[in-house]
């Protein structure tokens, strides 16, 4: 009896604590005005994005609410982990439970479009504003536009001036791969660490490798070309000689940045989203060098606003209004500043530059960036990308030579 009472007490205490804490949810849930159950009632729209780091009190959530209000509807926003969002979108699409607006990473747009769960601008009557072609191309398949970008980001080479000075390296001398490797040699000889990047076996790894891949002049349809091999050889040599740490094989872009933050490294390849952090640390940035000089084309990052297929097509009207509102110049500059992205239209970019002239190198980089699924690669890209990062992993970990790894990659990607 005594034990039974003890259990009842413990159980009741747990339950009470749980309910009390859960009731605090009223103050901070990820949605705003919620629709009951899973089916949205008329007038209540659903919005999925890959930003779980922003909750209902963030600027991002507020701008969504404002745009929804101006379209005359209430909206429920949910932030999901970006790596699981594709699967969720497909699962929802299969059950005709798609959200009204879906914000996804740009290389995934073609996958979702080919699955048939996204509407084209013909279907949803969305008017695409001023968007640079190179960025929009990720959302254009067979001349049909499936979405508009919320902003863009890309990669560049951050450097630590203190470390470079201590090693006697002049940043202006770094113009191509040879000079970069020479600088790395000098830096490691002086007792510091060379360069850090992310070569992990996910899309992030491919993303980070592409500026070198394209910088050598290689093409994604030909993974085993000599140019591609030279790019992979560059990285492999760096790791072998200790200019880049072994941990790059498992680094995400975040952990790579954390290595750079220790102050030991001279260089880090990372993205626009770190610029605020870099400025705080006193680090500067130059474009990633191409093999023989000039800037290497970097891939475009950033998400696209898409309108999934709905049974009730009259919903597209309000959805399109919300999307237009979110991508309007005024809102997009505010949003992109929050996300640390670069705007995608000339007018918006000018506004960003006017407010913050230090953005110039990033604006320039975005203007020459390439979309990964562009050149009509579309749904071929995911397979190619997976083989590319696998090859990089094999070469860097010593399981295969760059040539063999890329040859295997090309035959698997066919």
């Amino acid at each position: 009896m005594e034990i039974k009472r003890k259990f009842t007490v413990v159980g009741a205490a747990l339950l009470a604590a749980g309910v009390a804490a859960a009731s605090l949810t009223g103050c901070s849930s990820s949605g705003t005005s919620s629709s009951s159950g899973s089916s949205a009632a008329k007038g209540s729209y659903t919005f999925w994005d890959p930003y779980p780091q922003y909750d209902a009190t963030s600027d991002w959530a507020k701008v969504i609410d404002t745009c929804a209000a101006s379209a005359g509807v209430t909206i429920k926003r949910s932030g999901y982990d970006t790596s699981g969002l594709t699967n969720k979108a497909l699962l929802a699409g299969q059950q005709s439970n798609s959200p009204d607006i879906l914000l996804v990473d740009n290389p995934v747009v073609s996958t979702l479009a080919s699955a048939g769960i996204l509407t084209t601008t013909d279907q949803n009557q969305l008017v695409v504003g001023d968007v640079a072609t190179n960025i929009l191309s990720a959302g254009v398949i067979d001349s049909k536009t499936y979405g508009v970008p919320i902003g863009s980001n890309t990669l560049a080479l951050y450097y630590n001036p203190t470390v470079l000075k201590a090693a006697g390296v002049d940043i202006a001398s770094i113009t191509d791969w040879t000079s970069l490797t020479a600088a790395l040699q000098k830096v490691t000889a002086a007792g510091h660490k060379g360069i850090t990047f992310s070569a992990i076996g996910t899309e992030e790894g491919s993303f980070q490798f592409l500026p070198w891949f394209w910088g050598a002049g290689a093409d994604l349809t030909q993974l085993d070309s000599t140019k591609a091999e030279s790019a992979l050889q560059l990285w492999t040599d760096w790791v072998k000689k200790g200019y880049a740490p072994n941990s790059v094989i498992n680094n995400t872009q975040t952990t790579s940045w954390q290595e750079f933050q220790t102050g030991d490294f001279a260089f880090a390849e990372n993205g626009t989203w770190q610029k605020a952090d870099a400025t705080k640390m006193g680090d500067l940035v130059i474009p990633l060098p191409a093999a023989t000089g000039g800037s290497a084309p970097a891939p475009t990052g950033g998400e696209f606003l898409t309108i999934p297929v709905q049974k009730d097509t009259s919903r597209y009207v309000a959805s399109a209004k919300i999307v237009t509102c979110l991508s309007s110049t005024e809102n997009i500059v505010k949003t992109d500043n929050t996300l640390n992205y670069i705007s995608v239209g000339k007018e918006a970019q000018a506004a960003q530059l006017a407010a913050d002239p230090t953005l110039k190198p990033w604006v320039d980089a975005v203007q020459v960036a390439k979309a990964r699924t562009g050149d009509n690669l579309g749904t071929k890209y995911p397979k190619i990308s997976e083989q590319l990062w696998t090859a990089v992993q094999k070469a860097l970990s010593g399981s295969a030579t760059p040539a063999d790894a890329l040859k295997a990659a090309q035959s698997a990607a066919k």
Binding site: A115, G201, N246, S385, Q393, S397
Partner: protein, 305 residues
């Protein structure tokens, strides 16, 4: 007397039959809806050729065993099979023996034994995202604490997570660590169930500690050990989160098990490929099934009642 009892006995037996099924019925329905249905869907996914489009509109063509044949022919199949075998075998071996050793250690009360035993279960509470991440952190080639210790001890840096030779070891260590609490709990309670009189009788007969362990403890613990090992096998076969977080099955498939491979095919790239993923998943279930059958066979041989 007998006549009076025979009528209630018959009534009880019939009532027992109906009541017995009434007690079980909820679980049977539960099993059908929540286990049979996803399993059936998975089998269906594996015998059709699903693209993302046909996943949405349901028009995938029936391809029979083509997906399975492709899986067997895939170059990853061999390494995945080997890694799965090694991973499961070594994990169970160490989880069980360390768990048993600890259970034996704790079975006689000593000061603080209750609290220490409870503390041993803490690894179990952590979400796998966290355990996996902590181990990743500790085993990092350059900034990991384990390598710091190794370098201090003069052994030098080991690339735990990034070398094809060491990646399987790294995930094994983490998995053994996570599995010890489960084994400890079950084996401990099994040990507690062995009455002390048996040991005392053996002491009187002159048996020493090791002999008592081999001749008394192990045999009496057999049913508990069997179920612990079987469940451990089934759970270890399914292990996915840990390896995914630590190495993603890499580099170059060196730590890829069937569970990892299945997930990677389905969700590891930007373009989900559900059919081969489902095929590998079903192969996994098949392997677990075979172990289950072996267990049943061993059980019935040990315990003919």
């Amino acid at each position: 007397m007998t006549a009076q009892l025979s009528v209630p006995a018959r009534r009880v037996r019939r009532r027992g039959g109906w009541t017995a099924w009434a007690f079980i019925a909820p679980v049977v329905i539960y099993l059908l809806v929540f286990y049979a249905y996803p399993l059936a869907r998975n089998v269906e996914l594996s015998v059709r050729d699903y693209t993302v489009r046909s996943f949405i509109d349901g028009t995938a063509p029936f391809v029979g065993f083509a997906n399975y044949r492709a899986v067997f022919a895939n170059p990853t199949f061999g390494p995945a099979l080997l890694n799965t075998g090694l991973f499961v075998g070594v994990s169970i071996l160490f989880q069980f023996s360390i768990g048993l050793a600890l259970a034996v250690f704790f079975v006689r009360q000593f000061p603080l034994s209750g609290m220490l035993r409870a503390l041993f279960l803490v690894p179990w509470l952590l979400p796998l995202l966290v355990s996996g991440s902590v181990w990743s952190w500790m085993l990092n080639s350059d900034s990991g604490i384990v390598n710091s210790f190794l370098e201090a001890a003069g052994i030098g840096q080991i690339n735990w997570l990034t070398s094809p030779h060491w990646s399987l070891f790294a995930v094994l260590i983490a998995n053994i660590w996570i599995g010890i609490p489960f084994n400890l709990v079950i084996l401990y309670s099994g040990l507690e169930g062995i009455p002390l009189e048996v040991y005392e009788a053996a002491s009187i007969d002159g048996a020493n500690g090791w002999q008592k362990f081999l001749r008394i403890t192990l045999p009496l613990l057999r049913p508990v050990s069997a179920i612990t090992i079987l469940l451990g096998l089934v759970y270890t076969l399914k292990v996915f989160d840990l390896i995914w977080i630590m190495t993603r099955g890499g580099p170059a498939d060196s730590s890829t098990t069937f569970a990892i491979w299945s997930y990677r095919l389905g969700f590891g790239s930007l373009l989900p490929d559900f059919s081969p993923a489902a095929a590998v998943g079903n192969l996994l279930i098949l392997v677990a099934l075979i172990f289950g059958l072996i267990y049943i066979r061993t059980q019935s041989r040990l315990d003919p009642a």
